[in-house]
C-alpha cells in the first residue's frame, strides 16, 4: 500500500489555501491542516499526533511571520521539511539560515511545487 504523505499548509490568503489543499489532495497528499498565521501554525503543529513531513509556509502573515513560526516549529520537530513560498525574496537567506528546506518564489507552477514537495519527502 502506498503511504499517504502528510502536508501542513500555512498561508493567510484564502484563495491560496483552497488551491494548495485542492492541489495536494489531487496529487495524493493528505492535508493535515491549514494555518492562517504564525501563531495558529505553531499551536496546530503541536496538536498533530502524527507530525507532517512537509510544511508549505508563507512568509508574510498577520500576528507572526513564517520565519518566526518556523523557528518555533523546528524546535518542536527538527525533521520537518519547511518549504517557504513567498514573493518577498528578501526573506530567502534568513529562511534558509534558520533551517528551512527550500525557498520558492511566487509565481510558480503546480508541477514545480509537486516536484519540490516530493524532493522534501525524499530528504526526510
Amino acid at each position: 500500500m502506498i503511504k499517504i504523505e502528510k502536508v501542513f499548509i500555512v498561508d493567510d490568503e484564502p484563495a491560496l489555501q483552497f488551491f494548495y489543499e485542492k492541489l495536494l489532495t489531487m496529487y495524493g497528499f493528505e492535508v493535515v491542516g491549514i494555518g492562517s498565521n504564525g501563531i495558529e501554525a505553531i499551536s496546530m503543529f503541536k496538536s498533530f499526533p502524527i507530525k507532517p513531513k512537509v510544511i508549505l509556509m508563507d512568509q508574510r502573515m498577520p500576528e507572526m511571520n513564517g520565519i518566526e513560526a518556523s523557528k518555533a516549529i523546528l524546535q518542536i520537530d527538527n525533521r520537518v521539511k519547511i518549504i517557504f513560498i513567498s514573493a518577498d525574496i528578501t526573506a530567502r537567506e534568513e529562511a534558509i539560515s534558520i533551517g528551512a528546506f527550500l525557498f520558492i518564489d511566487k509565481i510558480f507552477t503546480i508541477n514545480d511545487l509537486i516536484d519540490d514537495i516530493n524532493r522534501a519527502i525524499e530528504n526526510y
Partner: protein
C-alpha cells in the same frame, strides 16, 4: 664750491644733499653743531645750511661760533628749521648773523630758488663784510635763553595738547575695540550650527551691553515675532536707539538699546555714531541668522516630507508587490487546477468555485490598482467637501459587495432609524464603505458571512456625529493589531500585513472628513468572534 649740511635727521640730510649736488655743489654732512665746526675747520666751505634743534650743539650755537671765528665768519650761513619757527626765532637768527632763515618744509624748487637768490645777493654785496648784529655775549646769551625757554614752554603746551588728544584717541580706540569684540562675538555666535534663536537673542543682548560705552547703564531688548527678549536690567527710557529686524524684506521685529539714565551727549543723542552703526550691523547679523534658520527649517520640512513620501511609496510598492503576487499566484494555480478538473468533470462544483476564485482575484487585483490610485489622489489634492447623503451610498456599496462575491453567502443587515443621513464628504465615501465591507468578507472563514451595519447618532463635545458600525463574524483583529491595521506608509512593519491597502485608504478618507475610525471586538474580550469597525463622522443638517 663746497657746502656743509647740518641736521640730526638722516632723511633731511639726504634730501638736502641731493638738492645741493644737483645745484652743482660739493656736499659734506654733519649731524650736529660740534661735528659741523670740526668739519668747517678741516676744509674750505662756501656755505652752511643748518637745522636749529640738534643734540650736543644746536644751530644757534653753531651760528654764533661761526660768526665769532675769524676764519669762518664769512661763510654763507642758512638756517633751515622745523621747530624754531616763531618771528622771534627768525629775528634772533638774523641778529646772530645768519644770512637766511628758511622754515621747513619747503618745496624743493622754492628752496632752490631761495638758495640761488641768496648767492646772487652775496655776489652783489661781495665787499661788505657779514657780521653779527649783536656783539654783546651777554645779550646773546639772554636772547638765546629766551628762545630756549620759549621753545620749552611751547613744547610743554604741545605735549599737553598731545596728551589730551592721545587720551581721547585711546578712549575712542577702546570703544572701537569693545564694538569690534561685540560684533565678533555675535558673529561667532551666529555661526554656531545648532544654536537656537532664543539662545542667540539672549547672548546677543549680553554682548551688546558689553559693547556699549557705559555697559553698567546700558540695557537692550529684542522683539521678534511677538516674543520679547530683554537684558535683566531692562527698563524703558527716553535715551534709546532702535534697529529694525527684517526677514526676507518683511519687518519682523526690532533691536532696541537704551541708557538707564541721562548720559553725556555724544554724536547722536547720548550715543556714539559708531554705536548707531553697531546696531545696524547687529540687526544685519540677526536678519542673516533668522533667514538661515528659516531656510534650514524649510529644508528640514522638505526633507521630512520627502522621507515620508519615500516611505509611503516603499510601503505601497511593498504591499502592491506582495498582494499582486498572491493574486497572480491564485490565478495561476486556479487556471492550472481548472485544467486538471476539466479532466475529471465529476468535480464540477470545485471547477465552478475555482472559476469564481479566478474572477474574484482579478477583481481584487483591479481593486488594488484602484486603491493605490485613490490613495495617491487623496494625498495629492484634497477634494472640497460637500453635503452628501450617505444611506443611499451605503446601500449601493452593499449591493456591489454581493455582486462581486456571488459564490459566497453574504448576509448584510442594515439598521437605521431615519431615511437620510448627511455628512460633509466627497466621491470617496463609496470607497470608504466598500473597503470596510470587502474587508469583512475577505477575512471570513464562515460559510455564511454575516455583516450588521448600524447607523446611530452620538453627541461629543457639543457636536453631532454619525456613528456607523460594521459588525462581522470574520476572523477578527487581535489587540496587538487593532491600531496597526490603520497605519499607513509604515514599511518598517513588514512582519504585519494582510489587509492590503483598503484600510489605509479608509483611514485617510475618514481623517479628511474630520472623523475617526477604530476597531473593536464584536464580542468584547474575544476577538476571534469577529470585529466591529466603527466610523464616527461629523453630521450636518
Amino acid at each position: 664750491m663746497k657746502v656743509l649740511i647740518v641736521d640730526d635727521k638722516k632723511e633731511n640730510l639726504y634730501l638736502l644733499e641731493r638738492i645741493m649736488k644737483k645745484l652743482g655743489y660739493e656736499v659734506e654732512l654733519a649731524e650736529n653743531g660740534k661735528q659741523a665746526l670740526e668739519k668747517l675747520h678741516g676744509d674750505n666751505f662756501t656755505m652752511v645750511i643748518s637745522d636749529i634743534l640738534m643734540p650736543v650743539m644746536d644751530g644757534f650755537q653753531l651760528c654764533q661760533a661761526v660768526r665769532s671765528d675769524k676764519k669762518l665768519k664769512d661763510l654763507i650761513f642758512i638756517f633751515y628749521t622745523a621747530t624754531y619757527t616763531e618771528k622771534e626765532d627768525e629775528d634772533f637768527a638774523l641778529r646772530l648773523g645768519a644770512d637766511k632763515f628758511l622754515k621747513k618744509p619747503l618745496k624743493a624748487e622754492i628752496f632752490i630758488e631761495a638758495i640761488k637768490n641768496l648767492i646772487q645777493e652775496q655776489k652783489v654785496n661781495q665787499n661788505k663784510p657779514r657780521e653779527r648784529i649783536v656783539k654783546n655775549e651777554k645779550e646773546i646769551m639772554k636772547l638765546y635763553n629766551e628762545r630756549l625757554v620759549q621753545k620749552l614752554e611751547k613744547k610743554i603746551l604741545d605735549l599737553e595738547k598731545e596728551t589730551f588728544v592721545r587720551k581721547k584717541l585711546e578712549k575712542n580706540l577702546n570703544e572701537r575695540v569693545k564694538e569690534l569684540t561685540c560684533l565678533y562675538n555675535i558673529s561667532n555666535l551666529s555661526e554656531q550650527p545648532d544654536i537656537s534663536m532664543e539662545q542667540f537673542f539672549i547672548k546677543t543682548l549680553k554682548y551688546i551691553q558689553q559693547g556699549w560705552q557705559f555697559p553698567d547703564e546700558t540695557c537692550a531688548k529684542i522683539v521678534y515675532s511677538g516674543q520679547e527678549f530683554k537684558t535683566e536690567n531692562f527698563s524703558e527710557t527716553v535715551w534709546r536707539q532702535k534697529g529694525d529686524i527684517k526677514e526676507f524684506g518683511k519687518l519682523v521685529g526690532y533691536l532696541e538699546v537704551s541708557y538707564l539714565k541721562e548720559m553725556p551727549t555724544f554724536d547722536i543723542g547720548p550715543f556714539l555714531k559708531e554705536e548707531r552703526n553697531l546696531i545696524n550691523s547687529v540687526v544685519k547679523i540677526l536678519k542673516r541668522l533668522i533667514e538661515r534658520k528659516k531656510n534650514e527649517q524649510k529644508l528640514k520640512e522638505s526633507e521630512e516630507r520627502y522621507r515620508k513620501a519615500f516611505n509611503r511609496a516603499e510601503f505601497y510598492k511593498d504591499v502592491f508587490a506582495h498582494d499582486i503576487s498572491n493574486i497572480l499566484q491564485s490565478i495561476m494555480s486556479g487556471a492550472q487546477i481548472s485544467e486538471l478538473l476539466f479532466k475529471k468533470t465529476e468535480e464540477f462544483k470545485d471547477l465552478k468555485f475555482t472559476a469564481q476564485i479566478i474572477k474574484e482575484q482579478v477583481n481584487r487585483g483591479a481593486k488594488l490598482v484602484s486603491n493605490i490610485r485613490k490613495i495617491s489622489k487623496l494625498e495629492e489634492d484634497r477634494q472640497s467637501l460637500k453635503k452628501i447623503e450617505i444611506l443611499y451610498i451605503l446601500k449601493k456599496s452593499i449591493s456591489f459587495l454581493k455582486k462581486s462575491h456571488q459564490l459566497k453567502k453574504i448576509s448584510v443587515q442594515l439598521n437605521y432609524a431615519e431615511e437620510k443621513f448627511f455628512i460633509k464628504g466627497n466621491d470617496f465615501v463609496e470607497d470608504m464603505f466598500e473597503n470596510i465591507l470587502t474587508n469583512a468578507v475577505r477575512h471570513n472563514k464562515n460559510l455564511i458571512m454575516e455583516i450588521i451595519v448600524k447607523i446611530s447618532r452620538e453627541q461629543k463635545n457639543g457636536l453631532s456625529y454619525l456613528k456607523i458600525e460594521f459588525l462581522d463574524n470574520g476572523i477578527g483583529v487581535s489587540d496587538l493589531s487593532k491600531e496597526k491595521i490603520f497605519q499607513r506608509g509604515n514599511s518598517q512593519e513588514k512582519g504585519f500585513h494582510g489587509m492590503g491597502l483598503g484600510l489605509s485608504l479608509v483611514s485617510g478618507i475618514v481623517k479628511d472628513y474630520n472623523g475617526k475610525i477604530w476597531v473593536e471586538d464584536r464580542v468584547k474580550g474575544d476577538y476571534s468572534k469577529g470585529s466591529n469597525f466603527v466610523l464616527l463622522i461629523p453630521e450636518v443638517d
